[in-house]
């Protein structure tokens, strides 16, 4: 009976089933993510201690400024003005009032605490998701007080990685050629600085010409070219110890030595009998191996991150173009086919792109293309610019740009600039003197 009743109910009032509605969201907002970097709180005793050691009034605020500045420079974040913050730093670090932070449109929040423990700097920080109202990350660092700037960079790397999914590039250094004096009588020194321009040091006195310094992708070694008694020489310099050695004297025009991805070889071009080809040198046994053998000019070699391929530029097809070959010199393929001349190809540490300089109709461009030559994108255009170098995460390029001189030959300068892959975030990298030929280090904290 009950069965029949149920049957009739189903017949009379059928269940109305709705299919789940799906909506595809394929577009979004590319504007920088608004986030708040609260000043790191510090107790009065530690404050006094750091004042004596570092001569800094409030090292907590200084570290938060570094984080904020780094994130802003990346172009992916919009650090909010701290005058708008409603919660005190020490309370925010314990338990943020998320409504207050959401009110000023912050989507993420960085809080922290600095203390001096047994003569060491201890920094604790947390990253919060304001809209979800939860902690995303919490870490503490202990180091010598003098390393306070590096702590700021390391925290930025952690925040950047957690929010973007890719590794950061803030705890890094840039080696470059510092230039001074008139264009015809330039003094060039090797110099190094943090990626944000701080801790600038000169490594040579400027008596001899220095060119094309390049960081090793694995450690703090640098290779560069200098002229000794008018002969090009390739040097190796260990940044940590200051020890240098001559790799070798090379004949004729030698160009742009660069490390292999494992740091065990250097690859460069030099000319024998007026013909410039690509060679590698094993740094352990100093054995030189010829990679290309072509009557054209082959220069600017750069390895792929897996070391299996090499990109270089050559004029073997009449005009200077970019080529890719296997690491033994076989299977050479031209990959650039656009109008103009292409040079200085550099393989991205991510492996997906090759950066280059292009000269077309009297203008210089910095651009990127896929490793098969497709998807060419010109990121920036100028009167004269070249020598792109990748940040270790493959998102940002640093290069140098020269200015035009006036009719009297005045006004010449060379400056470092950076641009990210979107092509929108172009920035001047501050240096004390004129600068050229930059090279970005790998992450120091790795």
């Amino acid at each position: 009976m009950l069965f029949r009743f149920l049957f009739f109910l189903i017949i009379l009032f059928p269940f109305k089933a709705f299919a789940l509605i799906e909506v595809d969201i394929t577009r979004g907002n590319l504007s920088p993510l608004p986030l708040a970097v609260s000043p790191l709180s510090i107790d009065s005793k530690s404050k006094e201690g750091f004042k004596k050691i570092l001569n800094k009034k409030d090292v907590g605020s200084e570290i938060s400024k570094i984080i904020s500045n780094n994130l802003k420079q990346s172009g992916l974040f919009n650090p909010l003005n701290k005058d708008a913050f409603l919660q005190k730093p020490d309370i925010a670090h314990l338990k943020p009032r998320f409504e207050d932070w959401a009110l000023i449109k912050a989507q993420a929040l960085v809080t922290g605490k600095v203390s001096l423990i047994e003569g060491k700097l201890r920094v604790e920080f947390r990253l919060w998701d304001v809209l979800a109202g939860k902690e995303m990350m919490a870490l503490a660092f202990t180091t010598v007080p003098n390393n306070w700037r590096r702590v700021g960079h390391i925290i930025t790397d952690k925040v950047y990685e957690r929010l973007t999914g890719e590794k950061g590039y803030f705890d890094t250094r840039i080696i470059y050629v510092a230039e001074e004096g008139p264009k015809v009588k330039r003094v060039k020194k090797l110099a190094i600085m943090d990626q944000d321009g701080y801790n600038n040091k000169y490594l040579t006195l400027g008596n001899e010409l220095v060119l094309t310094p390049r960081f090793s992708p694995t450690n703090q070694m640098v290779t560069y070219l200098s002229y000794f008694r008018n002969m090009p020489r390739v040097y190796l310099l260990d940044i940590e110890t200051g020890i240098q050695e001559v790799v070798g004297d090379f004949p004729g025009m030698t160009f742009a030595p660069r490390f292999s991805p494992d740091g065990k070889k250097i690859i460069m071009s030099f000319a024998t009998d007026g013909n410039s080809d690509i060679y590698t040198m094993d740094l352990e046994n100093r054995v030189v191996e010829r990679i290309t053998n072509h009557p054209s000019i082959d220069t600017s070699p750069s390895y792929s991150p897996d070391g299996k391929y090499i990109t270089f530029n050559s004029d073997r097809s009449k005009y200077q173009q970019i080529y890719v070959m296997k690491n033994d010199g076989t299977n050479v393929k031209r990959i650039s086919f656009g109008n103009g001349l292409y040079g200085t190809p550099v393989w991205s540490p991510r492996g997906d792109l090759i950066a280059f300089t292009k000269l077309h109709k009297g203008k210089f461009y910095i651009g990127v293309m896929r490793t098969d030559g497709s998807g060419e994108r010109l990121l920036t255009e100028n009167f004269y610019q070249e020598a792109p170098s990748w940040s270790p995460n493959g998102r940002v390029l640093i290069f140098y740009r020269e200015t035009k001189t006036n009719s009297k030959g005045e006004g010449f300068s060379t400056k470092l600039w950076s641009i990210d892959l979107t092509g929108y975030n172009e920035r001047l990298v501050e240096t004390k003197t004129d600068a050229s030929d930059p090279s970005w280090s790998s992450l120091l904290s790795n």
Binding site: V23, L139, F141, T204
Partner: protein
Amino acid sequence: MSLPFLSKKPIDLPPIVSVELIQITDKTNIPFAPKAKKIIEKVKKKEKEKLVSEQAPPKIVKKEKPDAVPLPDKKIDEVKKIKNKKQNPEKLDNEVKQISEFEKKELFDPNNIAALIDKSKEETAENTTKTDKITQDREKNVSTLGLSLSEEDALKAQIFGCWSIPLGLPYDKDLLVRIKLKLKPDGSVISSEILDHEKMNKPGQRFYKVLAESALRAVKLCQPLRVPSTGYERWKDLQLNFDAREMLEG
């Protein structure tokens, strides 16, 4: 080896000191309120019970013959073949159309224009009645199946504005985050569930996690969502598929 042009002073760079990284999340996480604790314990108990039932002896399933599984190369070939098949009918279609137009030209009689006009009138009339029928059907479908185009566009436009795409994501990876929402009639979110949530904490899925978190932030930032004023039953459960590839490729 000392070199004549090198700076005689030792390089005075800040020392590279290894930095200790200490996970402090467990130590500093805010404890749950007593009431919440009870609820969590209840949920955990339920989960345990579920686990017990899952551990029951597995069903005996017939093993598939390994021969039946196609090799990856074969699979690719098959896909290629299918693509070719798709292309061919299109070509044929064009050819058929061209022939028919040509035939029409041949059959065209300038003295019989009036008859053609009359016919065309009839055809248009027929067409309009047909299209009317279709739109009525569509409306019926919309009311029972999905959102209308304008309703969907309004919702999409709202979420586009709220979703800050993490620009560090690789553009060449197949990243899709599906979020199931339970909504109130005013469009505010009762609950949100990531359908592939098991991926969130898997090693090597950091990009998925970042994308999923950004999608959840977008939903929270956007609510109440711009939903239709009627038909709550059909959209009270809604699935949003977040796919950033198009934007990241630029």
